[in-house]
């Protein structure tokens, strides 16, 4: 089995469990949180891939850290993967899980970040435009981040559409601080 097949198997299992519990979105965000934490902490990563630490101990560590954030299905699948020595594959599993979820449910999840909560009219127009652009139904996962000042940031299918005031201010700041380099050759 190639690594991508292994990752797909884990993802498939997680999707089946999550859809039975009707918690696919929660599983997705929980898995993303686990991947981010494992990647960001070298000690945690080392501990999880250390063969000398018993499986029981690893299970406890995972439960203590992610017990509250992740759904039981995510925790179970992650623990299984870690105990089988597949800690390296967690990122791939998250990627595969996203693809399976998209395919099975026929919808695309778009992360939308705004400075103030969306109202229904804007929500409808964003959903409509994104669905038209991608050719598939889109569901929004909304976040509020006041540091954007205004505008909207949409994160969908590996791309970011950044229409926030904060990033435009940033771009303006660089335009002023960089010396002009003349025209194209």
């Amino acid at each position: 089995m190639t690594t991508s097949e292994i990752a797909r198997t884990y993802a498939r299992v997680l999707f089946d469990l999550a859809s039975a519990a009707d918690a696919v979105d929660d599983a997705d965000s929980g898995l993303a949180a686990v991947v981010e934490s494992v990647r960001g902490h070298i000690d945690l990563r080392n501990a999880l891939s250390d063969a000398q630490i018993p499986a029981e101990k690893k299970r406890e560590v995972l439960r203590d850290i992610f017990g509250e954030d992740a759904t039981p299905e995510v925790l179970a699948v992650v623990t299984l993967a870690v105990n089988r020595g597949h800690t390296e594959l967690l990122g791939d599993i998250a990627g595969e899980f996203g693809q399976i979820a998209e395919k099975e449910r026929g919808i695309v999840v778009a992360q939308v970040t705004t400075a103030v909560p969306l109202d229904d009219a804007i929500r409808a127009s964003v959903t409509g435009k994104l669905s038209a652009a991608l050719g598939r139904p889109v569901t929004l996962r909304e976040h509020v981040d006041e540091s954007l000042v205004g505008g909207i940031v949409i994160n969908v299918a590996g791309r970011v559409l950044d229409g926030s005031i904060a990033s435009q201010l940033d771009a303006m700041r660089t335009a002023l601080s960089v010396t002009p380099q003349g025209g194209e050759a």
Binding site: G40, N155, L161, M172, A175, T179, Q181, G183
Partner: protein, 522 residues
């Protein structure tokens, strides 16, 4: 000092922000999976281009640039340029839609820049005329024409026997401490007033060595037409890898555009550029480090499989453009350092096979006092002969032959006791010619002086002298000719050929001077 009021500030701000348009920024983003050894593995970025500039948004909003090299199904392997410590796992990476580029222009002359074109000499920002991609496809067959103009190095042994033409690629190869950089620096110094823009690319050298070269160039007034691109030993490997390519890109700007900054055409000639890559063995080492950390499979001497292509595509950018394309040229003088004279190592054989000839410098010659320590027996120039002026061909043809015979006999005669007369005269002639070709540093000779000096040697005017008097004779004779018979030098320079009259005049001057020189020695 003019008063600064609000309206001036307004105008400047408006001008600066004119180019800025508020638009939605659509870019691909990825996440750093792993970072270390100056490379980062990035998840996502499926649309990244090979060689694309990536923006890593590090902690505290620090932006670090990187270059995408390994494009795989789910991840991208990138090398980081600049502060590698500022990037960590889970950081956001954005594509920029641009490949790595470098600014260029006349304002860069006399400056020291890093491989991204940013000044590192502390003399303020550089106003560039244009921006060029670091990786650029070399011109094809129809855009070129054969090398036909000489690029005089001012070093007699090279200009006479291993001539270099504008647009040629000539390798300078030798062990450490044999004067490779000296040949390169002398060549730059000799380009003064010849309308050649010189670019000295220092790869992986000590900062003090680079400072020494710059100081030498400054002392001889050569920095006015020279750009130094430096990636020092302490710089990250990606910068050392990029340096020769960005040197070529800076040079290409001058070659592809005319004096007015417009693309070079028949009526708008492109400029002539000399690019020195000192040295490519260090670039190959930097590339090997990058490739191994990117987990590319190692090949011979642990270099990656495409190290040949790395050098061939760089050196292929040396070109003599056709008249329709402005007839500009980019001459490349790559430098390779060998270990204990081993030219059959991987990188030396590669670069020898790519270039149009090589100048071999040998340490035993260096210690025998033959400086520049060029081994003229195994040094060749495959195209430069077409670029030599006719006068030089007339005198230097027999020089090569005489020296070859001398070397053959010298090895033999070491055991010998009784030598016949012709053998002895060959040995005598050879010893004097070797002496004649010795030359100090930073004293380039004009081509007419070289022709006159070699004429004296090959026509046998030195045979009666003691070997240790040859250099004094050469220098004093050149002084004598240039003051008493200045027309000889001028005729050679203008007619580019030694006519019968010039030959007679030269022989007469030589006879006259030989007598007074001999009288002075007694």
């Amino acid at each position: 000092m003019a008063r600064i009021d609000a309206s001036t500030i307004n105008e400047v701000l408006k001008a600066q922000l004119e180019a800025f348009e508020a638009e939605v920024d659509v870019r691909e983003v990825g996440t750093v999976m792993q970072v270390g050894d100056g490379i980062a593995r990035v998840e996502g970025l499926r649309g990244a281009m090979a060689g694309e500039l990536l923006e890593f948004i590090g902690k505290g909003g620090n932006v670090v640039y990187g270059m995408a090299l390994n494009l795989e199904e789910n991840e991208v392997g990138a090398v980081l340029m600049g502060e590698t410590e500022a990037v960590g796992e889970n950081d956001t990476v954005r594509t920029t839609g641009r490949v790595v580029e470098v600014p260029s222009g006349r304002a860069m002359l006399g400056r020291i820049v890093d491989p991204l074109g940013q000044p590192i000499d502390g003399r303020g920002p550089i106003q560039a005329e244009g921006i060029r991609p670091v990786e650029f496809r070399a011109p094809g067959v129809v855009e070129r024409k054969p090398v036909h103009e000489p690029l005089q190095t001012g070093i007699m042994a090279i200009d006479a026997m291993i001539p270099i033409g504008r647009g040629q690629r000539e390798l300078i190869i030798g062990d450490r401490q044999t004067g490779k950089t000296a040949v390169a620096v002398d060549t730059i110094i000799n380009q003064k007033g010849k309308d050649v823009i010189c670019i000295y690319v220092a790869v992986g050298q000590k900062a003090s060595t680079v400072a020494g070269v710059v100081e030498t160039l400054e002392q001889h007034g050569a920095m006015d037409y020279t750009i130094v691109v430096a990636a020092n030993a302490s710089d990250p490997a990606p910068l050392q890898f990029l340096a020769p390519m960005s040197g070529a890109a800076i040079g290409e700007h001058f070659m592809y555009t005319g004096e007015d900054g417009q693309p070079a055409t028949k009526d708008n000639p492109g400029r002539h550029v000399l690019c020195i890559y000192d040295d490519l063995s260090k670039q190959a080492v930097a590339y090997r480090q990058m490739s191994l950390t990117l987990r590319r499979p190692p090949g011979r001497e642990a270099y990656p499989g495409d190290v040949f292509y790395l050098h061939s595509r760089l050196l292929e950018r040396a070109v003599k453009m056709s008249d329709e394309n402005g007839a500009g040229s980019l001459t490349a003088l790559p430098v390779i350092e060998t270990q204990a004279g081993d030219v059959s190592a991987y990188i030396p054989t590669n670069v020898i096979s790519i270039t149009d000839g090589q100048i071999f410098l040998q340490s035993d010659l260096f210690f025998q006092g033959v400086r520049p320590a060029i081994n003229v027996g195994i040094s060749v120039s495959r195209v430069g002969g077409n670029a030599q002026i006719k006068a030089m061909k007339q005198v230097a043809g027999s020089l090569r032959l005489d020296l070859a015979q001398y070397r053959e006999l010298a090895a033999f005669a070491q055991f010998g006791s009784d030598l016949d007369k012709s053998t002895q005269s060959t040995l005598n002639r050879g010893a004097r010619l070797v002496e004649l070709l010795k030359q100090g540093r930073y004293v380039p000779m004009t081509v007419e002086d070289q022709v006159i000096a070699i004429f004296a040697g090959t026509k046998g005017f030195l045979d009666g002298l003691a070997v240790e008097d040859v250099l004094a004779f050469r220098d004093q004779f050149l002084e004598f000719v240039n003051s008493a018979y200045p027309e000889i030098g001028k005729t050679i320079a203008s007619e580019k050929v030694i006519s019968d009259e010039t030959e007679a005049a030269l022989s007469k001057a030589l006879t006259e001077f030989s007598e007074s020189f001999a009288a002075g020695r007694e």
